[in-house]
Amino acid sequence: MNKRRSIQAKQGRAGWMFLAPATILIFIMSFWPMIQAFIISLKKGSSANMTWQEPLYHNYERILQDTTFKTAMGNTFLYLLVEVPIMLILAILLAQILNNRDLKFRGLFRTMVFMPCAVSLVSYALIFKSLFATQGLINSALMHLGLISENINWLGTTATARAVIIIGLIWRWTGYNMVFYLAGLQNIEYSVYEAAKIDGANGWKTFWSITVPLLKPTIVMTVIMSINGTLQLFDESVNLTNGGPANTTITMSHYIWNMSLGQGVAKFGYASALAFVVFIMVGILAFINMKVGDTRD
């Protein structure tokens, strides 16, 4: 009995040892800086000698009057609500199609769909910017096809600039999410589908009644990842449109960047307060998502 307990204790200690390196690193490299950022968010002044705000919560109070941040928040949520559903549904559909064993060239198709993920964020923004330039390839192609009579100013008009960002995001990330679904589907016994087929269920019905429920954990994970990624969206806004025209495509992270290091303003106190608000927003959304999709226990 005694011996057994000591073995358990030993195992428990070993368990904590396994966790220790990662836990310590996350505390030092994520939580500690975040606490420091919170302290900074209560301060004002130049970064070299900051002083306390009066009242302490003034930077947070200020956010309520910040029209640019409200615009940025609106933009970011627009991307979230439009892009994430389209991308994830497309990814599930593709995974479903590619999971069909009768399909030929599956490997080739899968590789091609995934390929955009191998292009770096800096690079793909540059590629999309060139393609959608006023004199760019997309416009000349549309002209040749006779679909438009004069060049569209894709990145200079609010609606199209937002569309380009959304298209870019879908292009870059659909394949990535598809791989997760595909792997999830491969864990589902193929016979389940065969059985459904014999029962006379059509493709659509199998999709909703078998695929989606079984993929639920994967879907929850990808939704959290996508929410997180979209709310922290930065590179696309900076490199594709630079937030323009007239800040109608700027994202929250981009605005925070402008307030801190981006344009020499160095308002670290205020920027940190904004960042904290974003942190809380992501946290709340992820929490809701996990509660809704919780399958464990």
Binding site: G12, A14, G15, A22, L98, S120, S123, N187, I256
Partner: protein, 283 residues
């Protein structure tokens, strides 16, 4: 025989919409990459004029890239590539090791306290990168780590996402093996190294692909901490090419191409393990 043949051609016929859909999607996926490849072989003028077939200017663009790299890094393109490989490689190896340890610990030794700790760690995923940039930079500068590989990878090695991935995949690790190994007198760590790591190799492969891609593509953080040009990465070099009063597109796309080759190669080599490992099909 004839029946199955007929059957399979009927199946293929029913799959025609799927093929069409896939071909359209693949075209959209691949076309921008194809465009990048052609642009790398053309002059800047041709690129801006919308030329989309391969040209004969690849060598000149490559030479210009070599020159641009040596101008900005005081070394060579090879050095910049090596830097990127080095940092991304180190980050990948250390990260998958540390995160797999944690994922294993969280799943196979799990109790209430560890579950709570896991919930806390997940919060770190939601911290915006722009928020911690300044405090982390200050930390690196106090530790005199600026421009070293350590500054590059330290903030990126322990990520909640990686831990989560290993934790989920560890559910498929057969616990009876563990019990048997314990009875054989293997220590807890020996079990991890000798049993867990080999069994989970496709998870490791998948994690390595994701981690390497993230590290290779990192831009904002390296730009802040890699202050010495000899420590420059490929992403920084490409960003350098796209700034300045005039931009040479042929040269730029050659740089973009070099930036993308390694991540594509890694994916092609490991794609099978990647697909298997991502949700932990244990073989």
């Amino acid at each position: 025989m004839t029946k199955t043949k007929k059957n399979s051609s009927a199946i293929q016929r029913r799959l025609i919409p799927s093929y069409i859909f896939l071909i359209i999607v693949c075209f959209i996926s691949v076309f921008p990459i194809y465009w990048m490849l052609t642009a790398a072989t053309n002059t800047s003028y041709d690129v801006s004029q919308g030329r989309i077939v391969f040209g004969g200017y690849a060598l000149e663009n490559f030479k210009a890239l070599l020159k641009a790299a040596s101008d900005s890094s005081k070394a060579s393109l090879a050095r910049v590539m090596w830097n990127s490989f080095l940092y991304a490689g180190l980050q990948t190896i250390i990260s998958i090791f540390i995160c797999s340890l944690a994922g294993y610990g969280f799943e196979l030794y799990h109790d209430k306290n560890k579950d709570r700790l896991f919930g806390v760690l997940l919060l770190a995923m939601m911290i915006p990168g722009v928020a911690t940039l300044i405090p982390l930079f200050t930390m690196m500068s106090r530790l005199h780590l600026l421009s070293t590989a350590a500054a590059f990878f330290l903030p990126g090695i322990a990520t909640p996402f990686m831990i989560m991935m290993f934790r989920q995949n560890s559910r498929n690790f057969p616990t009876d093996i563990m019990e048997a190994a314990r009875l054989d007198g293997l220590s807890e760590f020996a079990i991890f190294f000798r049993m867990y790591m080999p069994v989970m190799r496709s998870t490791y492969a998948a994690a390595a692909v994701i981690c390497f891609m993230n590290a290779w593509n990192a831009y904002m953080w390296p730009r802040a901490v890699m202050t010495d040009n000899r420590a420059m990465t490929m992403q920084m070099l490409v960003a350098n090419l796209s700034n300045g009063y005039t931009v040479d597109y042929g040269l730029l796309m050659m740089g973009v191409l070099f930036c993308s080759i390694p991540t594509m190669l890694i994916f092609f080599i490991l794609q099978k393990q990647f697909a298997e490992g991502i949700t932990g099909a244990v073989k």
